[in-house]
């Protein structure tokens, strides 16, 4: 399998250099590494790009141009995988990203880059069409929802739910919680029963059901 060709947008020189080093070491090919919106738009228009890793805030206005460019790119090329990185996660932005097309989208805090294995794994999942949401988004939603179904979930089930929203498959969840895959499957069945959701073997559809239910 040839290396995935990435567009990387990050305006901090140190972080950009670090990300290039990290991603190349993990077998990605950096097609373009840019630090402002016009260059990012040009790079995203390149049909050779397989996926993009984009910072939300960058020149010229230092607001949310990265996010907007990502959403535009996904409008122009439906299903184009984009992983958005930010110093902050806003639920408003999470909603906009999720609404920009089915799957192949990620939204993570920049801190998560520190855990290299996790980060690269997340990027692979997005590139493969999965949905990856930062755990803090899911935590905020669970905090906010005080209705009965959420209250019925056990602490363990909440953990599993959060990991599902992060886009992990059963194996990933099992590894993260240090339990067997069978135990995870049991938790997931219980969660779906409590939340009145149809069970589905397909990971992507399952994540979507959870996100829809959470009304992220």
């Amino acid at each position: 399998m040839p290396a995935a060709r990435l567009v990387l947008a990050e305006d901090h020189a140190l972080l950009r250099a670090g990300l290039i080093q990290l991603l190349e070491a993990k077998g990605f090919e950096i097609l373009a590494a840019v630090d402002n919106l016009p260059e990012l738009q040009r790079a995203l228009a390149d049909p050779r790009a397989d996926a993009a890793v984009v910072d939300v805030r960058m020149p010229p206005t230092f607001t949310d141009e990265g996010l907007r460019a990502a959403i535009e790119a996904r409008a122009a090329r439906p299903g184009f995988p984009v992983l958005v990185l930010s110093q902050y996660v806003e639920q408003l932005y999470a909603r906009e990203l999720l609404a920009s097309g089915e799957g192949a989208v990620g939204y993570l805090l920049k801190d998560r880059v520190g855990d290299v294995t996790e980060f690269v794994d997340a990027l692979h999942r997005v590139a493969a069409g999965g949905t990856v949401l930062d755990p803090s988004v899911v935590a905020a939603v669970l905090d906010r929802r005080r209705d009965a179904p959420v209250e019925r979930l056990t602490a363990r089930e909440r953990e599993v739910l959060a990991l599902m929203a992060e886009g992990r498959a059963n194996a990933g969840i099992a590894q993260s919680l240090v339990v067997t895959e069978k135990a995870v499957a049991k938790h997931i069945n219980s969660i779906f029963a409590k939340l009145d959701l149809p069970t589905d073997a397909d990971d992507h559809r399952r994540v979507r059901a959870v996100l829809e239910w959470l009304r992220v």
Partner: protein, 390 residues
């Protein structure tokens, strides 16, 4: 600010001032009736009936005072400006402004003078005019007498601009002191948050890394663990830094302005919040103040109101930003208790903004505010020649 200003080419002659004297004598009964009724109505406000009476009486009082201002201006040959505060729309709101305007109280005081000393002077002028033998006295004496009356009229009926400015300076000094206190407290809080949080964490991370460096060759296993700890610590420091920054100027506000930022606040609420917001980009300090006002109101709803739904609205008419947060909760919020609503009022006062809270026991609670502010030129056409620079 003078609402009306009458000017005359020079002091009036004996015929004209006698005309005024006659008019003033004829208006004497009206002055007495008006004075008595106004005082009685003011007392009857307690029993509500006074309010409709004052709705009629205060404009009449203004009319008669304005009439005398014009006569005094012509008699003296110099302008006698009316010092009333500008009236808002709506009869009741206007009544409120009229009743609390010091100029109204001065009008009332002036009626006392017009019924006594002023009346006597006018009568004297009319009498010496009617008694034919005193014609010379009338010819030479009436203008100075009427000028005395006019001068007293002017002294009572014109609150100098100085008084207005003094009032304004007083209000500004008060709001500035509040703002200074508020920002000093904020700075102390930020300093403490940084000191106890990220600073301490980074110091700890540096310590771990230093130890790891020492042990790198002799004890790689421990060194590796220490590096992992340092990374976790920097992550926590970042989380804390984010919280601090959110409290200073939320990133979503910088990105999206008030429309997006209040929606982001609404998303974080446990109950559904209906958001109606279509405001242009405003100067950053105003956006920030209004954002924290909305945040405080929503936080109060979440903590105290036990509400099922909330309505949040923000509108800008080109000059004034008007907003409100209304919930269907249990009511009984008292702006004098608790520092949150006080803090809102202070933030708004810095921009000449005002706030009103209506929260009867049993609800609903409505917090409304208004802040005068022109939009930024880039996001919407200028509506005032004096709009703020972009």
């Amino acid at each position: 600010m003078p609402a009306t200003a009458s000017t005359a080419p020079g002091p009036a002659g004996p015929f004209r001032v006698t005309g005024y004297a006659v008019a003033q004598v004829l208006l004497f009964p009206l002055a007495i009736v008006l004075f008595v009724l106004t005082v009685v109505s003011a007392v009857l406000v307690v029993a509500w009936i006074g309010i409709p009476l004052l709705l009629v009486l205060l404009p009449v009082l203004r009319w008669i005072a304005d009439l005398h201002r014009r006569m005094a201006a012509r008699t003296l040959g110099s302008p006698v400006p009316a010092p009333y505060a500008p009236l808002p729309e709506g009869a009741l709101a206007a009544l409120r402004v009229r009743a609390t305007d010091t100029a109204t109280w001065r009008d009332l005081l002036w009626l006392l003078w017009a019924m006594t000393g002023g009346f006597v002077l006018a009568v004297v002028v009319v009498v010496v005019f009617l008694a034919v033998v005193t014609f010379p006295v009338w010819f030479f004496g009436s203008p100075p007498v009427m000028r005395i009356r006019a001068a007293v009229d002017r002294a009572i009926l014109t609150v100098g601009r100085t008084d207005r400015l003094e009032e304004r300076v007083h209000a500004l000094a008060e709001s500035r002191a509040d703002v200074v206190d508020h920002s000093a407290a904020e700075l102390r809080r930020i300093e403490r948050d940084l000191h106890d949080g990220p600073q301490a964490r980074l110091a700890a991370a540096a310590l771990s890394l230093g130890l790891a460096e020492d042990l790198f060759e002799t004890d790689p296993v421990t060194a590796r663990r220490l590096i992992g700890e340092a990374r976790a610590t920097t992550s926590t420091a970042l989380v804390e830094l984010r919280d601090v920054v959110r409290g200073i100027h939320p990133p979503v506000l910088a990105d999206r302005g008030l429309n997006g930022a209040v929606r982001a606040l609404a998303i974080d609420m446990a109950m559904p919040v209906e958001v109606e917001s279509a405001v242009p980009r405003l100067p950053a300090p105003v956006e920030s103040a209004v954002y924290f006002v909305v945040a405080e109101c929503l936080a109060n709803v979440g903590k105290h109101a036990a509400a099922d739904s909330v309505h949040l609205s923000l509108h800008h008419d080109g000059r004034v930003l008007a907003g409100s947060v209304a919930d269907d909760g249990r009511g009984g919020a008292d702006p004098r208790r608790g520092s949150g609503l006080q803090g809102i009022a202070t933030r708004l006062a810095a921009f000449d903004g005002t706030m009103a809270v209506s929260s009867p026991p049993g609800g609903p609670t409505v917090v409304r505010w208004e802040v005068p502010c022109p939009p930024l030129a880039s996001s919407s056409p200028r509506t005032m020649p004096s709009s703020a620079p972009a």
